[in-house]
């Protein structure tokens, strides 16, 4: 329950911080940290325009997309406190429920019959397919290391054995953050602020969404960032008491958001045609974590 509240709070400022950092880095003052929230609130009040080509799929897709993200949020724990739902193998559910949202966002893009949106949909499907193995192997390694298979128990038992696990935590942070970047279509995989539809991935998929639906998609995006941020936090806090853990949560979230902002300011997007290979490299990083876990528990004999 605690994690739920924390994630919702974090999601209110995460994207705002990214935008603020980007503005500051490019020498502008930039909008306030809560501007994204105001945008969403404005969208909720606006009318909607539907394309004539679309069908009911296009209308229900944003709803299911947001619902899938909210559901994924419910299984994320926070240190000692479980997520709202916690069970053995909940990380499998986490990944697959997010896939439900992706499935709908892809078909809703195809529903418009626009070639640009088809292009975005094709890329999204390919990239998310490549990103998933990394996540599963990372979680598998943690399961191997701790002997549990639920988010809560794995994270709680992670650092009991030795301090080397913090090294794995750092590698895990890298993997999780890259997965978050892919899931949220940020740099270096995708450039949300590009001016050309041909080079977008996620932004081009939602070209035809407007009003309330667009607001839902944005909200889902903010939540997703905070969820992955929370997972990263979980890699480190272990069984810390709350008075340390909660401030740490916010510090790490802010650091991550700033990091994303800085990366977006000073890095160029990768070549679209090489993105898939790059994403698959993440899997090998996860394999490194797996071997690290093997070393720690002494199975390398």
């Amino acid at each position: 329950m605690l994690s739920l509240i924390l994630i919702i709070i974090a999601s209110t400022f995460f994207t705002g911080i990214i935008i603020r950092v980007k503005s500051l880095a490019s020498g502008r003052k930039g909008p306030g940290i809560f501007q994204p929230l105001k945008d969403v609130a404005r969208l909720f009040k606006k009318g909607v325009v539907y394309s004539e080509t679309t069908s009911f799929v296009f209308k229900i897709a944003p709803t299911i997309y947001l619902a899938s993200v909210v559901m994924a949020m419910l299984v994320v724990p926070f240190g000692q406190s479980k997520g709202l739902i916690s069970f053995n193998g909940d990380f499998i559910f986490f990944a697959y429920v997010l896939a439900l949202g992706k499935f709908f966002s892809i078909i809703s893009a195809l529903d418009t019959g626009s070639s640009f949106e088809g292009m975005g949909a094709s890329r999204e499907a390919l990239y998310s397919m490549f990103a998933e193995p990394a996540f599963f192997i990372l979680m598998g390694s943690l399961a191997l290391l701790t002997g549990y298979t639920s988010f809560h128990e794995m994270f709680a038992a992670l650092h009991i054995g030795s301090y080397i696990t913090y090294a794995l935590g750092i590698l895990g942070t890298f993997v999780l953050m890259m997965v978050a970047m892919i899931e949220n279509s940020r740099m270096p995989i995708d450039d949300p602020k590009t001016h050309l539809e041909l080079t977008m991935v996620h932004e081009v998929m939602i070209l035809d969404n407007s009003g309330f639906d667009l607001g839902l998609i944005f909200t889902a995006g903010y939540l997703k960032f905070a969820i992955y941020g929370a997972l990263v936090v979980n890699l480190f806090i272990g069984l810390f008491p709350y008075q340390f853990a909660i401030p740490m949560f916010f510090v790490i979230q802010v650091v991550l958001a700033t990091g994303v902002g800085l990366i977006e300011s000073f890095m160029a997007r990768f070549r679209m045609s090489h993105n898939a290979q790059f994403i698959f490299v993440l899997t090998s990083v996860s394999l490194l974590i797996f071997f690290g876990a093997l070393l720690i528990i002494g199975k390398f004999v």
Binding site: Y96, S122, L216, S273
Partner: protein, 675 residues
């Protein structure tokens, strides 16, 4: 006992009635026959699911010996699946076949084949005598062949049918080899002989015997590299036949493998690894080729191969659990595999039936020519969507439950295992995840291109939704897809008996399967219910807000371009282009391209054909070599009568001189015997 007489009597009455009826009644009689037999066979096996195995001996002939009939929980599980899919499939066929109502004789033959196929499948599940088993297997293979070549005026259909017929006979030869091997060593055709033979011999013998049976059954099930008949037979067959074939007929291969696992006593760990390796390859290869297919039913056929791979992963992990005495692992693996058999039967038959609806409405199955069908056929589209989500293994539908069980199995296996096994686990997980991702790519393509967007081709006939009665069985299947996804416990309770039978848990050593599965799945169901509630809440919010704001329609945003036409839409090939570039080493694509040239370009075209690399190396190249070899001897068959008479004389002379060389021949025979 009585039930078997009734079962056979119904088959005979149906078959005898068929030629005398009008076209309309033929279908109804077949349907009634199958429903009656389904009732009979279900009532026969229901006690088995409760744990009371039904077993008795029929007086066989001199050749076969006594025929033992055994309905245990495993056969019961498969019989229930067969019954369900056949009832819905036949009901669907009643309306699907209206297109062909002119072809009276053809329909008679087809109906007879369909009834025989059904009966053979049921008999295969219960018979415990290898000779009778082989006869039933042959009836199944031939009747399926007849059912597939319904549209035999098309050359492609006939080719596909013959391809299937030959391959299923290869399968029979291998199975026969296995059964005769056991019969020679033990002198009995009863299945029990397999157990007694393997438990008296070394592990290597058992393993070899298992491999023989595995290859025989794998041809039927469609494991890579024995899958090559599948992508031809499924598109060629009428949709209800493809649905039934993919839904249950290939599962009889899985049934055979499971039966052999419970009969053969050998090193289960090795057996499990063998199955796992074949399954991983099948799963990945199947979905990798599925993505690039242009024909909707061919795409679905490759997906059957993929799903057989997933089922195999479950069974493989189950065997490994047996081999390492890890009963939890064994239960999870077998439960996942067996549940996926049922799940796949549901969503794959639903997909084939909806593809049949599309074919009926548009007369084409080429994905590139379709588009925007959701406007014309909303119900078919919705049903296809449900099945597509389910087959991608996404909650809240049934595919997720079985995949979740298999994943749980993998992570249970991970605990307390050594380095080598750990590598096997991690690659299995990797494979299953990739399969899931690729399946999503494939089905967003299939659904998105066929049903969404605007039509890519104008048809000269009206494209309209099929009748409600034709959709009724499809809704029935979809209902089960949803129910299994939302309330899996009930079905796993039914499964507990088959799994118990396979795992053979010693009393009191391990927690009860039912309780353990309950613990595993209860929270998953809570999560799935939560998901549905959240979707409902968000949807409600949207409804409230939408009621107050203005909603208008306009053209799709063309990024500033004002005259887009439907030809500019993304096509299926372009949707998977980056994928097919990345996976080029695994795919075999041939291109035919005529580029536009000059200032006033004339016609230009571009077409691609996807070939199956394994088929090329395993089937095509050996066959062309064989044909080349036989071609050297074509001079013998020169059509001149004199030569043929000469051959006859040479043959008679050879026979006549055999006694002269009797001694030498005997020495040769002795020599062979010693080998």
């Amino acid at each position: 006992m009585n039930q078997i007489n009734v079962f056979v009597a119904i088959i005979v009455i149906t078959l005898v009635l068929l030629p005398f009826l009008k076209v309309k009644w033929k279908g109804i009689v077949v349907f009634t026959g199958i429903v009656l037999n389904a009732v009979v066979s279900t009532s026969f096996v229901i006690p088995a699911l409760a744990g009371q195995t039904v077993e008795f001996i029929l007086k066989g002939s001199l050749v076969t010996g006594d025929v033992r009939i055994l309905a245990d929980a495993i056969s019961a599980w498969f019989i229930l699946i067969i019954n369900f899919i056949f009832i819905t499939g036949t009901f669907y066929a009643l309306f699907y076949m209206k297109m062909y109502k002119e072809q009276k004789n053809n329909i008679s033959l087809h109906s007879a084949a369909f009834v025989l196929l059904y009966s053979a499948l049921i008999i295969l599940c219960v018979v415990q005598n290898s000779l009778v088993f082989l006869i039933a297997w042959e009836i199944m293979a031939v009747s399926a062949f007849v059912a597939v070549i319904f549209e035999h005026e098309k050359m492609a259909t006939l080719n596909a049918g013959i391809n299937y017929l030959i391959q299923s006979h290869v399968s029979i030869v291998i199975l026969m080899f296995g059964f005769i091997w056991v019969a020679i060593k033990t002198g009995s055709y009863d299945f029990q002989a397999i157990t007694s033979y393997t438990s008296q011999n070394t592990n290597a013998v058992g393993l070899l015997l298992f491999l023989t049976f595995f290859i025989g059954f794998a041809i039927k099930a469609g494991f890579v590299p024995f899958h090559t008949w599948l992508p031809y037979a499924h598109p060629a067959a009428p949709s209800h036949v493809s649905g039934v074939m993919s839904g249950v007929m290939i599962k009889i291969g899985i049934f055979g493998i499971i039966r052999m696992i419970s009969l053969i006593k050998a090193d289960y760990y090795t057996i499990g690894l063998v199955i796992l390796v074949f399954s991983i390859i099948s799963g990945l290869y199947g979905v990798m080729l599925a993505i690039v297919q242009h024909n909707l039913k061919r795409l679905l056929a490759y997906h059957s191969i993929e799903n057989i791979g997933i089922i195999g992963m479950g069974i493989g992990t189950g065997c490994i659990g047996l081999g390492t005495n890890n009963y939890m692992l064994a239960s999870l693996g077998f439960a996942g595999g067996l549940l996926h058999v049922w799940n796949h039967a549901l969503f794959k038959s639903l997909l084939f039936f909806t593809a049949g609806n599309v074919y009926q409405a548009t007369h084409t199955l080429s994905i590139e020519h379709l588009g925007g069908l959701i406007k014309k056929m909303p119900q078919t589209a919705l049903l296809f969507l449900i099945a597509a989500i389910a087959i991608s293994g996404i909650p809240p539908f049934n595919g997720f439950i079985s995949e979740f069980l298999i994943y749980s199995g993998f992570y249970v296996w991970m605990q307390n295992s050594l380095l080598g096994q750990l590598m096997a686990v991690i690659f299995s997980v990797l494979a299953l995840v990739l399969i899931g991702g690729l399946a999503m790519l494939c089905f967003t393509k299939a659904f998105g291109i066929v049903f969404l967007g605007s039509p890519r081709q104008t048809f000269h006939h009206e494209v309209k939704e099929v009748s409600f009665l034709q959709l009724l069985p499809l809704y029935f299947i979809a209902f089960f897809i949803v129910v299994i996804g939302v309330f899996p416990q009930f079905f796993l309770n039914v499964l507990s008996q088959p799994v118990h039978l396979l795992v053979n848990i010693p009393q009191g050593t391990s927690p009860d399967f039912q309780i353990k599965i309950h613990e595993t799945l209860q929270p998953v169901s809570f999560a799935v219910w939560g998901l549905i509630v959240i979707i409902g809440v968000v949807f409600g919010l949207r409804k409230i807000v939408q009621s107050r704001i203005i909603s208008t329609t306009g053209p799709t945003w063309g990024c500033g371009y004002v005259a887009p036409n439907q030809k500019q839409q993304y096509t299926a090939s372009s949707f998977v282009r980056s994928y097919s570039k990345l996976f080029k080493p695994f795919l075999l694509t041939s291109k035919n391209q005529k580029e536009p040239e000059g200032i006033f370009p004339a016609e230009s075209d571009y077409e691609t054909h996807i070939h199956d690399r394994i088929e090329k190396y395993l089937i095509d190249i050996p066959i062309s070599g064989y044909k080349w070899l036989l071609g050297r001897f074509v001079f013998l068959q020169n059509g001149k009568l004199q030569f043929y008479i000469a051959y006859g004389i040479i043959f008679i002379t050879l026979i006549a001189i055999v006694p002269i060389f009797y001694e030498q021949i005997m020495v040769f025979i002795e020599f062979i015997k010693q080998l």
